[in-house]
Symmetry: C2
Subunit: 457 residues, 2 copies
Amino acid sequence: MTDLHETLGALRIALGDDAVLTGDTINPRHHSDWTYHQPACPAALLLPRDTAGVAAALRICNERGQSVVPQGGMTGLAGGSTPRATDIALSLQRLTGIEDIDPAAMTLTVRAGTTLENIQLAAADAGLLFPLDLGARGSCQIGGNIATNAGGNAVIRYGMTRDLVLGLEVVLADGRVLNLLNKMQKNNTGYDLKQCFIGSEGTLGVITRAVLKLVPPPGPVATMLCALPDYASAVALLRRIQRELGTPQAYEVMWQDFYRTGVSWLEKPIAPLDDSHPLFVLCDLDAPAQALEAVMEQAFEAGEALDAVQASSHAQARALWKIREATGEFPTRLKPLNFDVSVPIADIGTCVERCRARIDARWPGNRSVYFGHIGDSNLHLSVDLNSVPDADPHEIEETVFAVVGELSGSVSAEHGIGVLKKPYLHHSVTADALDAMAALKAAFDPKGILNPGKVLG
Amino acid sequence: MTDLHETLGALRIALGDDAVLTGDTINPRHHSDWTYHQPACPAALLLPRDTAGVAAALRICNERGQSVVPQGGMTGLAGGSTPRATDIALSLQRLTGIEDIDPAAMTLTVRAGTTLENIQLAAADAGLLFPLDLGARGSCQIGGNIATNAGGNAVIRYGMTRDLVLGLEVVLADGRVLNLLNKMQKNNTGYDLKQCFIGSEGTLGVITRAVLKLVPPPGPVATMLCALPDYASAVALLRRIQRELGTPQAYEVMWQDFYRTGVSWLEKPIAPLDDSHPLFVLCDLDAPAQALEAVMEQAFEAGEALDAVQASSHAQARALWKIREATGEFPTRLKPLNFDVSVPIADIGTCVERCRARIDARWPGNRSVYFGHIGDSNLHLSVDLNSVPDADPHEIEETVFAVVGELSGSVSAEHGIGVLKKPYLHHSVTADALDAMAALKAAFDPKGILNPGKVLG
């Protein structure tokens, strides 16, 4: 690496003084993502205005072997965009704006720094839906959503971010710009390079522009909460609904511990369904209320459902969702150790039982809650560290991830690897696959300047 | 490269004599795919029994720099699996069988040499649908479908092969086996390596096993043929149907020239709708006939549709499809030069007009037909070389691909590149992107033994 001073001088000439910040002029939000794990003020913060600026910045840094941490909305949950003091941070926040909405192709072309919420609003203005949705929608940027292959609330119906991306513009580590701005559903002209960059957490290239798929908005949505006898019934009911009425917008499973917690935190803590049932499902579906009732009749007869309540107004639907949205209060009411894992759908019930048994045996008196998007094979669990103040969080993590590994699951379903999940990657990825990932990294970033130490290495 | 004789000896020891064929013992179907372009008897044909056999074969060939051409059902349309006389062909045909159907996860795990049709049947036996479907279903193998990212008839509703693959087992050029047999919809544990191999036409690795997504089968399907005033109406009607009733199973647009040809080849050449209309759509949709009629009323009022007929029986539906299936008779009734291109949906009408104007101007009296899966942005056109016997096919190809390039389209929508489309790749892929593809190739196959000369180079 050459002299930082010289590097910053070259960057100032290329980007302009106001696009190269250092020290106290850097807003602290660039020091860490939402994990606040090992925050650091980077050696500099670059604020290029356009793709050419990103390309110039990377060319200068690559020539000098200077490490670069790409940054979006800083809402990540794995430390992927947190810089070290020796890194230069490159924020996409000035590359904002929607360039094109094509109603015939149902596509939206957008610059990487645009927030997810602004994209959702622009799609809605055009009478369409951009179905990616997650809690951080107002802050997260589409470049970061793509770089982390974000999941969120609507995956069961519309897929992950990867499934919603048709084309990309990407700047490689050496400053070359790859124009992969495809608008077509079908395009078999060589390797589909964009796939390499989606979910690569800024380690293979910097995304500057994207072509996104839009979909027709759903019709009126029915919301239902129901109580189930066991996990197998949650799968059977989901498949019944899909077969008869189509894939729901949301299908959120809550184990009893979660349900009781969610109800107890309501303003009026009255359970809409008796809390003695072992399992609850909250379902959003764009089908006529009558059709849903008919399917639930079948489910009651088959013993898949024990009780159910359907919202008859938007306010009632919001009230049912309030129970599930208890997660939003975890940071203030608990000291949560959160997990975001996936296992094959049939094994999620086993995963819960096995995790609970091992955690209860090792840490008696722990308070833990289990919930998940089971249609996506995604299970979340949170252990309240306040309930077991002497527990070593890493030991809890090893306990859970060991179960996930036994069930051929994934230690990160939707949050990515960053730095926080790196120690556990071996539970889900073989040594040969890790080697192949390293080969891919070396092919696109031979000097290793892009987000070093994240995901791999 | 070392001595072929020595290489074959090593392969015979590793795989057994009956798995290493040479000369006349090689069935000629291994000499070429369905293009019959430059067929050749390979130096040997390998028939490994399992993944370990594939791994051993590749290790031996890689150590000796021996080129290997992976082969599936040999139904490709771009010369991708056609060997040269100096290549060793590696057929996956003995790796057959479905290993697992998981009804909870709705996944099917299968060996690469299994035919698409056998997978469809196994899924149906389990009450589910594997929605990939194409004319070669009885011969093509799933490994080849994945290696070419096959498209087919149901892409508008269910996506390309890429969208239906959850996990893969892949043997790298040096014989290492990558276990990427994921069953989960959500899995963000590092780079999604399987994406690199899907659509890479056997140049980056050999697919030996796959985990596929199944879906609930659709309900009863309504079939409708309608006549439209122009291309813009075809897009508007599709979006109307999607908004009101969901995405159709098929939405096939036929320009007048195609419709007239299809009707003229019927046993009783009577047009179900007057053939003076400029455009026709054949639509399959799993919605009640009544609901479809109501939407068509709106379409008539909006001027998007001019006339329509709905099949009232399975036989009537088959009769309507018979017109579209004229393509099956192209090889015997015409000397067709077939194109499989894609352009952004709004521009398909322009693409047709521009191609037709330039072809008519340069080759007066040509017989050409235009049709497409417009919801997938896919346009097919066929020029009957019998109608212009003096035309140079390459000049026609350059003419069409130039239009495609002008409209930011793709010279191969679903058939891949192989050797036949390689000269035209520059119309759709930038030089920097081709360089990035070459870097990917070098990363996974540094000696360049896998399917050399295909796609790249």
